[in-house]
């Protein structure tokens, strides 16, 4: 087991153009499940590929287990990677796919067999050993790729969107399996995804990336409840945080905290809400509309109400909503980063 560290890691693909990854410094804890989360083009996969040794950094260093591995070939890094496409060897049987890293190590046949049995037992794919990858379902392929990754007990796992090729239902169960699996093997894992639900559900900590830079590192709760800047606030949560312009600062509040006035404890700020549409999603209702007060210039806002609340609303009406003052997040106008709370006098 080992931790992974990057020091000021930068990747510029074309000189003169903005870098794909800009000076990223991160440290994982040993055995941690760390998630790189960001929209496409945020540099999360490039960052992972530099850690794997598949991409050479323009500058900066990668350390695995306190050893500088920058410039070393992937095979000298004691890592295992699961690719988005799984990258199974199509001409080899499942058994030979999983045994391939062991053969490359020069492990004798008997120990190989034992290892493959251990890995396939862990992932419950012992019955697939003779099949070729094209005869497997998406979920089975993902397990085979995972088995190939764990079979030589690497010090670090790198997973590049391993669930994005599965259908929604399978993804939920595969997510759960991955978490159980990580608990059992306790190997430091870096997991790349653009899916915030995956990131929140699986990560010990989440690294939010945007345009090649780290915006925030924190537990799922921290990045959700205490976003470091307006990007994180607007990226996490669906629907994302409402952000309004309040003169010298931006003020944000989550849709689930933007509720009918009667439900919000004092001290609170009251905001007239013009409801345009209502999405009934079963367990909750999403109300989309505008803020009524003229000072917000008909700023769009969203409210999320549990379906168990008795209040009824209809589109096209105005209602008095409010947010508890403790739920307001303040962002500096210029840097867009979080700043100290202050009182607002909107009424």
């Amino acid at each position: 087991m080992a931790s992974v560290e990057t020091r000021n890691l930068t990747k510029v693909f074309r000189r003169g153009q903005p870098g794909a990854v800009n000076g990223v410094s991160l440290v994982t804890r040993e055995g941690e499940f760390m998630v790189f989360l960001g929209p496409s083009g945020s540099g999360k996969t490039t960052l992972l590929r530099m850690i794997a040794g598949l991409e050479e950094p323009t500058s900066g260093e990668v350390l695995i287990g306190d050893r500088v591995v920058t410039g070393l070939a992937p095979r000298e890094r004691r890592i295992a990677m699961v690719f988005q496409s799984y990258a199974l060897y199509p001409h080899l049987s499942v058994y030979r796919n999983i045994a391939f890293p062991l053969r490359a190590q020069g492990m004798p046949r008997e120990s190989r067999r034992a290892k493959v049995e251990w890995a396939t037992g862990l992932l419950a794919i012992g019955h697939l050993l003779e099949r070729k990858p094209r005869e497997l379902s998406g979920g089975e392929r993902q397990r085979v790729a995972l088995a190939r990754a764990i079979v030589r007990e690497p010090s670090v796992f790198l997973l590049d969107e391993p669930l994005s090729n599965l259908d929604a239902k399978l993804r939920t169960s595969a997510r759960e399996e991955l978490i159980h699996f990580h608990r059992r093997v306790q190997t430091t894992t870096i997991y790349v995804t653009h899916d915030q639900v995956e990131a929140m559900a699986m990560g010990d900590r989440v690294v939010v990336l945007d345009r090649g830079s780290v915006r925030q590192v924190g537990t799922p709760r921290e990045v959700y409840d205490d976003p470091a800047d307006t990007f994180v606030a607007g990226f996490l949560g669906s629907p994302p945080m409402n952000i309004v312009d309040a003169d010298e600062v931006f003020v944000g509040f989550r849709p689930e905290h933007f509720l009918p006035e009667a439900l919000v404890p004092e001290p609170r700020v009251r905001l007239p809400f013009l409801i345009d549409t209502i999405e009934y999603l079963g367990s909750e209702r999403v109300l989309l509309g505008h803020l009524g007060a003229p000072r917000f210039g008909r700023k769009r806002a969203v409210s999320r109400l549990s379906s168990t609340l008795p209040e009824e609303f209809s589109p096209g009406t105005e209602a008095l909503f409010a947010v508890a003052e403790s739920r307001l997040k303040f962002f500096d106008r210029r840097t867009e980063r979080r700043c100290a709370a202050r009182s607002v006098a909107w009424e």
């Binding site: 690719f83 990258a87 001409h91 890293p101 490359a104």
Partner: protein
Amino acid sequence: MGMKAQRALAGALLAPAVLYILALVGLPLALAFVYSLGDVRVGSTGYRFVGLENFRSVLSSPTFRAAVGHSVIFTASVQAIVLVGGNALALALRRRFRGRGAVRFLILMPWVAPISLGAIGWKWILDSIYSVINWLLVRVHLVNRFDPPMWLGDPTLAMLSVIVVHSWRLLPFATVILLAGLTSIPPDILEAAAVDGAGFWRTHFEITLPMMRPIINVAVLFGVIFTFTDMTVVYVLTRGGPYDSTQVLPSLAFFTGVLGSDLAAGAAISVFLVPILAIVAWRMLRVAARAEVV
């Protein structure tokens, strides 16, 4: 359009290709079979059926037996050289580097240039007096100035020369085919092999080559046909000599049938090519069919 009209149109559109094949491939082939069973000579007008007489005399001729051996050696050696060389070139050309386009173009040159021109160039390069290779070898004191190798005059060296020149000619074609096969391998798979700890040779022999197998089969089968039926290089460089030591089946058929006026014997010799080519063609169709499934 009605069913009938459609069928008529299909027939009309196919007709030129069918006519072309019948006139330029079917008819000569049929004639070769007819001639090989008769006593036709250049200039004669009659035709007398002689059964398998031509085949008997051809088979008993030492020149023919030697030519069969030469054809096999020629074809097998050229395929081996072209496969290894084409693979190496394809691997080199897959990498991005400055001027890759120019290098690709240069490598294709032997293929697009008329073979007679190229072969005449080689004839000078291998000439007994003006050979630039010998000039170079003399300069670096590897060979004696008064007894340089006779590239086209010594039986072994002549065979070697013919093999090298034909390989030079087929190499671009094989490279292009193999490069296509190489680039069709998803980069993920090679990266997975790198992460899994495989080095260059293991990746090449256990991942790359097996994944390229269908396309390698195509390259080999085309190469066999282009080599086994070809006489251009032999004709220009050695005319089958010295002492028939580079005589292959197509050149022997040409020299016997056309230049030696014994059309029947020439036809009998070329008919010997048919079963071998039929087997290759059948394999080729099977490989093509299998490649579609994968």
